[in-house]
Subunit: 296 residues, 2 copies
């Protein structure tokens, strides 16, 4: 477990998974762990905003991060209270600044079918004016170090599957690793954590298991982070937006391979892919651990 | 290509992917295909409903399926017109029955962070009263045949990644295969296609690459399909809902392995997993083709 890790998932938390019985391919009884998701309703200054399905481990971070990424909370806002009621499945955020998002909530949602409902105008607000630090570096030795560290973390994914994860990193070390049933929840949780801990994005690298869509790019930029990595693929609009603001965008990170489609100027090729990259399929967590789980 | 396949993706359609240049792990210039998603705004009888990000290949099916799965269109409704304007990115559906969803649209959305905004009440409407055919069978020989057929289809996934797919099947043959950037879009497209073609769900099997969440279960049941398969994992609530209505739920389908957590009574174990299942990693499309793509 990396020393750098300040927040990590707790796959042994009994609230997050449930043991269920079923049959395997031989018709034999098996017992498996599955992820538990529960609804969480978010209020801001008395106004109901949204109900989200979440594994429920970090409701305050999720609430703050959601509001920040939806532009309903500003980075310079003072949050006077965050109250979570686990039984009711409610979290209430109060700010010193009065808010009224009635108009915003009426806007028709933009969804990719794999993203939470988001008013399009809000997503794009201020995006083009975003400024990311030019001097930030992505050394490929750090990239390989990150992949190795992340792929060996104990996570809910390995326990129960059906989960997405994101990591906030610095150089070759993960600092915060968050998971949830939806990749947008995982991103929002990290945004909320950064806000609560006054942690800047400029010197960070962001890693996600999810696809590099437009929404993922926009959120990363909103968090002030200049480098975004994923083991998954891209969408054309995600790449276009990344290029517009000079975000360093690296996808399809698997083994020793990756593809950079934006912000390539930050990349320092100081590693030897054959020597430093992970070629062995044993390290491709998504496959190896699932295979082990089936045998268990 | 299976003879049974009536609708399949066209990965050669130039509108669906874009070639982009970047750098690989050696710092060498590469060119890759990435998926293109574009906004599509849906109107029902003059009322704006939602804007969805979609690869844009089947706007009418997507529109109808979305409305059906959101309970805004009823299976017995008469659709008097569907008009798609590609330039404007708009699709208008008109029904003989007047509709007004103003109240429904104001409801706070339930999202998993990986699902389109859906009013919770609508999703659950009538769910418990659903009746699925008890006599439907899932022979494991069919399951293996389906996985084999689906994993060898030429798809956008293999071209460009970042895509989810769903297949409507009968016994061991896929009939319709749809893809999109979001798995909910892919499901909705199939629902829309079934509606337009008067195709029932009772004798079908549904396959998805996406996770077996509550929303996936609810949509499958709404489409009248008694059997749902996925190569991905489960969530506890998805399993709970499936058990409530007796949907046959089989996940983590990979190689010769799978896990059934609901509706096991429909499964007929007529295959030999070792002989009939696909064990070779070559057949695990998600890995093998991605590796090939990197070398291309």
């Amino acid at each position: 477990m990396p020393d750098s890790l300040r927040v990590r998932p707790d796959p042994t938390d009994p609230r997050l998974t449930r043991r269920l019985r079923g049959l395997d391919q031989h018709g034999a009884q098996v017992e498996v762990s599955v992820t538990v998701e529960r609804p969480l309703t978010l209020y801001l200054n008395g106004q109901e905003i949204v109900t989200m399905m979440t594994i429920g481990d970090r409701p305050e971070d999720l609430a703050l991060g959601y509001l920040l990424n939806q532009n309903m909370l500003r980075p310079d806002d003072t949050v006077s209270a965050i109250d979570h009621d686990e039984d009711l499945g409610v979290v209430v955020v109060r700010t010193e600044r009065p808010t009224d998002h009635e108009a915003r909530l009426k806007k028709k949602t933009l969804t990719s079918g794999c993203a939470q409902g988001t008013a399009f105008g809000d997503l794009m607000e201020n995006f083009s004016r975003s400024r990311l630090p030019a001097e930030a570096e992505l050394r490929t030795s750090w990239l390989y170090g990150l992949l190795r560290a992340i792929n060996t973390l104990p996570t809910l994914y390995l326990e129960a599957g059906a989960i997405h994860g994101c990591a906030l990193c610095r150089e070759d070390a993960p600092i915060v690793y968050m998971e949830d049933v939806g990749r947008h929840n995982a991103v929002d949780k990290i945004a909320g954590w950064m806000f609560r801990n006054g942690e800047p994005g400029a010197d960070k690298i962001f890693y996600t298991t999810g696809r590099l869509t437009s929404e993922m790019v926009i959120k990363t930029v909103r968090m002030g982070i200049p480098i975004l990595l994923s083991r998954s693929g891209f969408t054309a609009w995600g790449v276009e937006l990344a290029r517009e603001v000079g975000l360093t965008l690296v996808g399809r990170c698997k083994g020793s391979r990756f593809i950079a489609l934006a912000g390539e100027h930050r990349i320092v090729f100081d590693a030897d892919p054959k020597r430093d990259g992970e070629e062995s399929p044993r390290h491709w967590r998504k496959n190896s651990r699932e295979a082990e789980n089936h045998d268990a």
